[in-house]
C-alpha cells in the first residue's frame, strides 16, 4: 500500500497514540472535578495549552479545543458573526475555502448575512485591491484559508493582515488546517485561527480555534464548565494532550522534513513530465506537500479508482460537484474544462519515500498502457 493522501488525513504517530492511551488509562479524571485525579487531568490540559501557545507564539490567544477543524471553523464564523451582527452583517471570503467554511457562510447567508467571495486570480493569489474594494462600513469579518487544500495555493497572509490593519473593526479568520505543523506560520497576523490534529499525525476528533483574547464569540456548543466559556463540554484531556504532542512532533526537525518533501515533489514533477505527454501541473507554486496534476487521458475519479485498485491512494477534489470528476477551482484557475475534469491531488509527507514515487510512476504507466 502506498498512501499519497496526506492532505486528507495522516496516520497517527505512535508517540501520540501512546500518550493518548496512557492518559486515558491513568489520568482519566474529569478536569472539572476538584479531587486529585481531576486536578491532574486539568494540569494536563493547562500544560498542553502552554505548549501550543509556545509552539505557535500564541500567548495572546486562547486555545479553544474542539472536535476538529470543522467545529473550529463553525465557532469562528458563526460564533463571531452571531455575536457581532449588531455591528454589521457583511463577510468577505475566498473561493479557496474548505467546505466547512463554505457551509458556514451559506448558513449565515441564509440567515440574513451578506457574503462576498473574492474571485480566483490567475496566479491563485487573493487580489488585495479587490479585497479592499469589497470592504464596507458593515463588514465585520474576512475569512481566508492560508493554504488551499485542493491545490496547495499559499496566500500572503502578511499582506492581507497589513491591509486589514487599516480597518480595525474587521477581524481576520484563517483556516490554517493545511498550514500549522507543516510550514512556518505567524498566527499573530490573524484574530481567529483554525487547526486540526489529524492533519499532523494526531488523533481524529480533536482540533482547536485560537482566539485573540479580546475577540468575543457566541458559543456554538453550549454546555457546562469547560476549558473555555465559548465551548461547552467536558474537556477531553487525553485528546487535548495528544494534540499538543502531535504539534510538538510536527515541528521537530521541521526544516529537514520540508527539505525532504521539496526533494520528493521535484522528483515527482520531473518524472511525471518526462513520462507523460498529456499532463498539466495545475499550480507550480503550490506548497511542496501538495501536487495537483491533470492527466488529460483520464477523468479524475477513474484514475483514482485505477490507482486504488493497485493499492495506491490519492485524492480527487469534487467541490461543487455532486459526484465524480470536476474541479471548479481548477477550472477557475486554468480556464480548462479538460484539466478540471482530470485533476487529481497527490499529497506528500516526510514519511513518503522515493520508492513510493517510483511505484506511483510505474502504476501510472501501467494504467496508461492498459487503457490505450
Amino acid at each position: 500500500m502506498i498512501y499519497l493522501d496526506y492532505s486528507a488525513t495522516t496516520p497517527v504517530d505512535k508517540e501520540v497514540l501512546q500518550t493518548f492511551v496512557k492518559t486515558n488509562e491513568v489520568l482519566y479524571g474529569n478536569p472539572n472535578s476538584t479531587h486529585q485525579l481531576g486536578l491532574l487531568a486539568e494540569q494536563v490540559v493547562l500544560e498542553t495549552t502552554k505548549t501550543i501557545q509556545d509552539l505557535l507564539k500564541a500567548q495572546n490567544f486562547e486555545v479553544i479545543y474542539t472536535s476538529g477543524a470543522t467545529e473550529a471553523n463553525n465557532l469562528a464564523l458563526k460564533g463571531y458573526a452571531l455575536k457581532h451582527m449588531n455591528k454589521g452583517k457583511h463577510i468577505i471570503s475566498s473561493a479557496y475555502e474548505h467546505s466547512s467554511v463554505t457551509s458556514c457562510l451559506n448558513y449565515l447567508e441564509k440567515h440574513g448575512f451578506d457574503v462576498d467571495i473574492l474571485s480566483v486570480g490567475a496566479n491563485g493569489q487573493i487580489n488585495l485591491d479587490e479585497l479592499e474594494s469589497l470592504i464596507r462600513d458593515d463588514t465585520i469579518m474576512v475569512s481566508i484559508a492560508m493554504i488551499n487544500s485542493e491545490l496547495g495555493i499559499k496566500q500572503d497572509m502578511s499582506a492581507i493582515s497589513k491591509l486589514l490593519r487599516r480597518y480595525p473593526d474587521i477581524v481576520l479568520h484563517s483556516d490554517m488546517t493545511q498550514a500549522i505543523g507543516k510550514t512556518a506560520v505567524d498566527v499573530s497576523l490573524c484574530d481567529l485561527v483554525t487547526f486540526s490534529g489529524h492533519k499532523i499525525y494526531g488523533i481524529k476528533g480533536v482540533g482547536a480555534l485560537l482566539r485573540r483574547k479580546h475577540i468575543n464569540l457566541e458559543p456554538v456548543i453550549h454546555g457546562g464548565k469547560s476549558t473555555s466559556i465559548y465551548r461547552g463540554g467536558t474537556p477531553a484531556a487525553p485528546l487535548i494532550e495528544s494534540l499538543g504532542v502531535a504539534l510538538s512532533l510536527a515541528y521537530q526537525d521541521v526544516d529537514q522534513k520540508i527539505a525532504h518533501i521539496i526533494d520528493l515533489n521535484k522528483t515527482l514533477k520531473s518524472k511525471l513530465k518526462e513520462t507523460f505527454d498529456q499532463i498539466h501541473i495545475n499550480d507550480d507554486d503550490a506548497i511542496p506537500q501538495i501536487l495537483n496534476v491533470s492527466f488529460e487521458s483520464f477523468e479524475s475519479h477513474l484514475l483514482q479508482q485505477a490507482l486504488s485498485d493497485k493499492g495506491i491512494y490519492i485524492s480527487t477534489q469534487t467541490a461543487c460537484s455532486s459526484e465524480a470528476s470536476f474541479s471548479s477551482l481548477v477550472y477557475a484557475l486554468t480556464g480548462s474544462e479538460l484539466w478540471a475534469k482530470t485533476s487529481v491531488r497527490i499529497s506528500l509527507s516526510h514519511q513518503t519515500t522515493k520508492d513510493d514515487i517510483d511505484q506511483l510512476i510505474k502504476a501510472l504507466k501501467e494504467i496508461h498502457h492498459e487503457n490505450r
Binding site: S99, L105, N106, I117, C320, S328
Partner: protein
C-alpha cells in the same frame, strides 16, 4: 418562467453565484424560483437527473423544461441567457 435552483451548503460556486442571481432575477418580473438543496431535498433532486456539477438552474416554461444553466456564470452571461430564453418563449 419557473426556475428550479439546486444548490448545496458545501458548494462554494453556489455561494459565489448568489449575488449574481439576485441582481439578474431582479431584472425580470416573471421569474418564479423554487429552491432545492442537494442534500436536504435529495428525494426531489433525484427526479431531475442533474449530473455532476452544482449549482444548476433548470428553467421551465409552462411546465416544459427549456434550459439548464450549470455552474458559475458572470452577471452578463446570466443576463444574456435569460434574455434569449425570454425571446424564445415569446
Amino acid at each position: 418562467m419557473k426556475i428550479v435552483r439546486i444548490t448545496a451548503m458545501w458548494c462554494m460556486s453556489c455561494l459565489a453565484m448568489k449575488k449574481t442571481w439576485k441582481q439578474v432575477f431582479n431584472a425580470f418580473d416573471d421569474i418564479d424560483i423554487i429552491d432545492l438543496d442537494f442534500d436536504f431535498d435529495a428525494d426531489q433532486v433525484k427526479n431531475y437527473d442533474i449530473g455532476k456539477t452544482l449549482p444548476i438552474l433548470i428553467v421551465f416554461n409552462q411546465d416544459q423544461e427549456i434550459a439548464r444553466i450549470i455552474g458559475e456564470k458572470s452577471k452578463s452571461e446570466m443576463m444574456s441567457i435569460l434574455q434569449e430564453l425570454h425571446e424564445k418563449i415569446q
